[in-house]
């Protein structure tokens, strides 16, 4: 499981004429197999654009995105996106959502795989519920379970917990980390929550405002599970916040 991501000199612009904005300029980086990278940066800096390029929903104007050495031309089941606004189909039950994501699995295995994933995210017993009958935190877990059912090599997460309250957010995050130790897909998480990035990632990319560039790469070596009060993590948080233009006095 897992795949290598290589971004090579990628440029992306939006709009035309005077309204044209440059989202990404000459961006390059590599993410190793099974690595967890968090991308933090100011709002509207092109983080979401970057994820869409990686997942194949958009194509770069220049440069290339390589997955295991091959350019990505369209979205595929290898790289699943967990979108900001959530995309669990509201007209289907939890079971039906997972079933649709399973694709060509033989019938005799489907039931068991679904049961296993529903259990994994702690939603056993909710298989026949519709999304509008679930809480925000539960819905986000369905989103994760559905993504994992497809057995992706890559998981792209765009502010996946943004709509949740702080406590639920921490719960779902911990759960995600626990689940990911099982499959170990390569993960890219876009977030504006520096603490969240330091909690989950092996490396944190700090982005500049538009056009986005990787201003700094922060290695997070702390063992897991991480206590955010560890002095080295507190130090890294200050480093990143300073990089983002906030003085430590503002946040302390």
């Amino acid at each position: 499981m897992g795949a290598e991501v290589a971004v090579r000199g990628v440029w992306k612009r939006f709009g035309t004429g005077d309204g044209e904005v440059s989202a990404l300029e000459d961006m390059s980086f590599t993410v190793g197999v099974g690595e967890f990278v968090a991308i933090v940066g100011p709002s509207g800096c092109g983080k979401s654009t970057l994820l869409k390029l990686l997942a194949g929903f958009e194509q770069p104007d220049r440069g290339e995105v390589l997955i295991d050495g091959r350019p990505i031309v369209a979205p595929s089941r290898r790289g699943i996106m967990i979108a900001q606004r959530g995309s669990v189909f509201p007209w289907m039950t939890v079971r039906q959502n997972l079933d649709l994501a399973l694709d060509r699995t033989p019938d005799r295995d489907r039931h068991q795989i679904i049961a296993q994933h529903v259990d994994l995210v702690g939603l056993a017993g909710f298989e026949e519920r519709y999304p509008h009958e679930l809480s925000g935190g539960m819905l986000q877990r369905v989103e994760v379970a559905r993504a994992l059912v497809a057995k992706p090599d890559l998981l792209y997460m765009d502010e996946p917990f943004g709509a949740l309250d702080a406590l639920t957010r921490l719960g779902v995050r911990n759960e995600l980390l626990r689940i990911l130790t099982r499959d170990r897909p390569t993960c890219l998480l876009v977030t504006h929550d520096v603490e969240e990035a330091l909690h989950v990632a092996d490396r944190v990319f700090v982005m500049t405002p538009r056009p986005a560039k990787v201003a700094r790469v922060v290695e997070v070596a702390a063992p897991r599970p991480r206590r955010m009060s560890r002095p080295e993590l507190v130090g890294l948080k200050e480093t990143i916040l300073t990089e983002l233009g906030l003085s430590v006095a503002d946040v302390a």
Binding site: S76, S87, M92, A150
Partner: protein, 248 residues
């Protein structure tokens, strides 16, 4: 308490009507209308006319639905199809079905086919438009997710696009049936000898029985209400609750 409110309003208005109509030569009282309905029920004419009207609506509306759904889905999905068909639909839509009566009689004669055709015209366009905008309104996130999980072809339509558009389609079906019911009555007032519209015209022409005229009107209202209640039940299906639940 609030549940009794509509009943109260109804009774109040009926009382007002009774007061105003008492002794009036041009306005039948609620009592006269009730007796009129009773007599129509007793001799079986009411059932015959109601059946005739519902029969025409069933076919006209049914065929409209069968054609409006595929055309609406096509227009909602394909930019080209939308560009091609939308101007025609938008131009035909504001023509009242009543204006088609002369042509309907010319083409289909004075039988059941004419009112069926008019009912078809009345309900077809609102349902085409609702379906196409329903398909266009399916959120991009859902289409992306479908693409991401490799859902394509027919399965994309049956599992994502149509269910995503269904709440809007059902609203269109409700509007369509409402208009169908309005139009069948109007169509039956011309060149046909059955149905609730005919009952109303006939009651006047055959002896100024305004009690029966109003009895016919009341029945149209009651059946229209029942039809709408049936359609509203569709909005309570679990597969579409998500859309309507948001605003409540």
């Amino acid at each position: 308490m609030t549940r009794l409110l509509p009943v109260g309003v109804c009774l109040g208005l009926t009382a007002l009507w009774w007061l105003a109509a008492s002794g009036s030569p041009i306005f039948p009282t609620p009592g006269a209308v009730l007796l009129g309905i009773a007599s129509l029920v007793k001799d079986g004419t009411l059932l015959r006319h109601v059946t005739a009207s519902l029969y025409r609506v069933t076919y006209g509306y049914g065929i409209a639905l069968l054609l409006a759904l595929p055309l609406g889905i096509l227009m909602g999905w394909s930019r080209t199809a939308f560009t091609a068909f939308n101007p025609v639909v938008q131009m035909l839509r504001p023509i009242s079905p009543i204006a088609w009566i002369p042509l309907a009689i010319l083409w289909f004669g004075v039988g059941d086919l004419s009112p069926m055709f008019l009912v078809f015209l009345a309900s077809f366009f609102p349902m085409v438009l609702a379906t196409s905008s329903g398909v266009q309104l399916v959120e991009r996130e859902y289409l992306w997710a479908a693409q991401n999980f490799g859902v394509t072809g027919l399965k994309l339509f049956t599992h994502v696009i149509i269910p995503g558009a269904l709440p809007t389609i059902i609203t269109g079906m409700r509007v369509g049936l409402g208009v169908a019911w309005l139009v069948v009555v109007a169509a039956e007032m011309v060149a046909i000898n059955s149905g609730l519209g005919f009952l109303i015209m006939d009651s006047r022409n055959a002896g100024m029985r305004y009690d029966l005229v109003v009895a016919g009107m009341v029945m149209i209202g009651v059946i229209g209400l029942l039809l709408d209640l049936v359609m509203r039940r569709l909005e309570n299906l679990k597969e579409v609750r998500w859309r309507y639940a948001r605003g409540r």
